[in-house]
Amino acid sequence: MKSVKIYSDGRVILDGRENVFEEKGLSLLEHLYRKEVGDYPKFFKMDVLCKLGFIASELLLKGESDRFTPREDRAVLLFGTCGPLCNDRNYQATVRDYPSPSLFVYTLANIVTGEIAIRNKYKGESSFFILDAKDEDIIKNTIEEAFQDPVTQEAVTGWIDCRSEDDFEAEIELMVK
């Protein structure tokens, strides 16, 4: 697989081929987890941004041979506007009475890149970039810049944004230097 797009309205596009699911929003991600992954219960601890990034990366990478061999040459570089905003709201709701450590951890924008690196044993670069809007030029240039690192030969990269648990998209691909 070279590219994966997931939209909260139920559309899932794999290498340009579109499937439309009845499930929407968070239910779509949970449906895809059961259908396509199933063996990574940490998924259920994740916030919606991480669930989205995780499922998109699973669809992208699941057919690869030697998939879980540790490697340093593949980076994870994701871009978005809202970052962990959805989970920030969830955590904020706990601040007054009983602040939740498990929610707090997911208030960091780069946990989604970390989850993908951990799942796939990628010891290369992982970075999250926040942009004011989906600026294709900045994204293209930033990826090109990341390939300046001589160790980085490939990257799981793309756009991931969650306005709410019912309104999100991920458009990621595997790029080679």
Partner: protein, 373 residues
């Protein structure tokens, strides 16, 4: 490959305003870390280094900065100081802003506006300087500041700008303080990096900025690396995997190093992990030091602030002592940590950071030999 240099810098912290002023305060062993009770409405007292907000806002107003959130205000103050010293034209389309923060303006959460988004703050900062380019915000947990400096370096190497303004800031809030309390990561007293009695970290506020370019100056940002542990989202690798890989990637000649400016958060796992990474990289004989005992953990500002202070230290021939270190090393590998300031004649250093999400970063900076300051 194109060489990248620091043109100017500026740090705004609860200790002092200005890079030299901050270095002098650190050299004298000063800190603004203290116990806060009831601050931000947080029930449990906490030890932190916080700004006097009224004073900062008054100073900002005198400089024509008004109508911004506190987070944006300190970012602008840091940028303004660095830009004025650099002499660059910040309004030029050849200048790009790279912003570093972890939680930005999270205090605005719940007010129902876009003000909470770091990208909104970054845009406002760039607009303050009439800069026409869209800024990039790097949000990579506690390595954000170094990741932003590395990003600035890469933009210049690609030829994507003539100058890059890299600026990082963090303001504390009930959101962040209660989060670290819930993780049981905060020390009830002064943090003690690498000490046997360390009990956790102290949080801090700061803003710091650096203007980068490709015309030669005294300071070169030589090489940077970002590596994931591929281990755990909220704890470092027990074998210092990512930090070791970063050190391996950036250190070229260990004999040139005056010191390693470690992350040194004063948590049990972080400091231990760093000692192992330093050993694996063969750098145990290089002096190491942490600045968290002066500033606390300034999160998105840390990478830039600690790089600025480290540059000043090299310029003044000093390895800065690790404040609050008792002499009783509390990590398993014999890292060269010292409480006192020591002399050095070496002209380079490595800044090391790591953070949640499994991230680690290192940056090698080298001063032109024979350079005068």
């Amino acid at each position: 490959m194109t060489k990248v240099y620091k043109i100017a810098d500026h740090a705004v912290t609860p200790l002092a305003s200005g890079s030299k002023e901050n270095f002098n305060a650190v050299l004298e062993g000063k800190s603004n870390l203290k116990l806060h009770e009831g601050t931000f409405g947080v029930k449990e007292p906490f030890f932190a280094s916080l700004f006097d907000r009224e004073e900062v806002l008054r100073n900002a107003e005198n400089e024509g900065i008004r109508g911004y959130s506190f987070f944006e205000t300190i970012l602008i103050l840091a940028c303004k100081g660095a830009i004025e010293k650099s002499g660059i034209d910040a309004s030029s389309s050849d200048t790009v802003f790279v912003i570093s923060t972890i939680k930005g303006n999270v205090e605005a959460l719940g007010e129902g506006s876009k003000d909470v988004l770091p990208a909104t703050s970054a845009r406002r900062v760039a607009e303050f300087f009439h800069n026409p380019n869209s800024p990039v915000t790097v949000s990579n947990a506690c390595i954000s500041g170094l990741a932003a400096l590395i990003q600035g370096q890469r933009i210049l190497r690609r030829g994507g700008a003539r100058n890059v303004v890299v600026a990082g800031a963090e303001v504390q809030s009930a959101f962040i303080v209660t989060g670290f309390q819930s993780l049981k990561a905060l020390s009830p007293t002064q943090c003690m990096p690498f000490d046997a009695s360390r009990e956790g970290l102290n949080l801090g506020e700061a803003a710091a900025a650096m203007v980068l370019g490709t015309s030669e100056t005294d300071w070169e940002l030589v090489s940077g690396a970002i590596r994931n542990d591929a281990n755990h989202i909220s704890g470092p690798s027990r074998v210092g995997e990512g930090s070791y890989n970063c050190l391996r990637a950036v250190v070229q000649d260990k004999d040139e190093l005056a010191f390693i400016s470690v992350h040194g958060t004063s948590t049990a796992y972080n400091d231990e992990m760093e000692s192992i990474a330093i050993e694996r990289a063969g750098l145990l004989d290089i002096p190491a030091g942490a600045l968290k005992g002066y500033y606390g953990h300034t999160m998105g500002a840390a990478g830039i602030l600690e790089t600025i202070v480290s540059m000043k230290a090299v310029e003044n021939g000093v390895v800065i002592g690790t404040r609050a270190f008792s002499g009783n090393l509390g990590v398993s590998r014999p890292v060269k940590i010292d409480r006192e300031n020591r002399k050095t004649t070496k002209q380079a250093f490595v800044k090391l950071l790591s953070g949640f999400g499994g991230v680690n970063a290192a940056l090698l900076c080298r001063r032109k030999t024979g350079g005068e300051k």
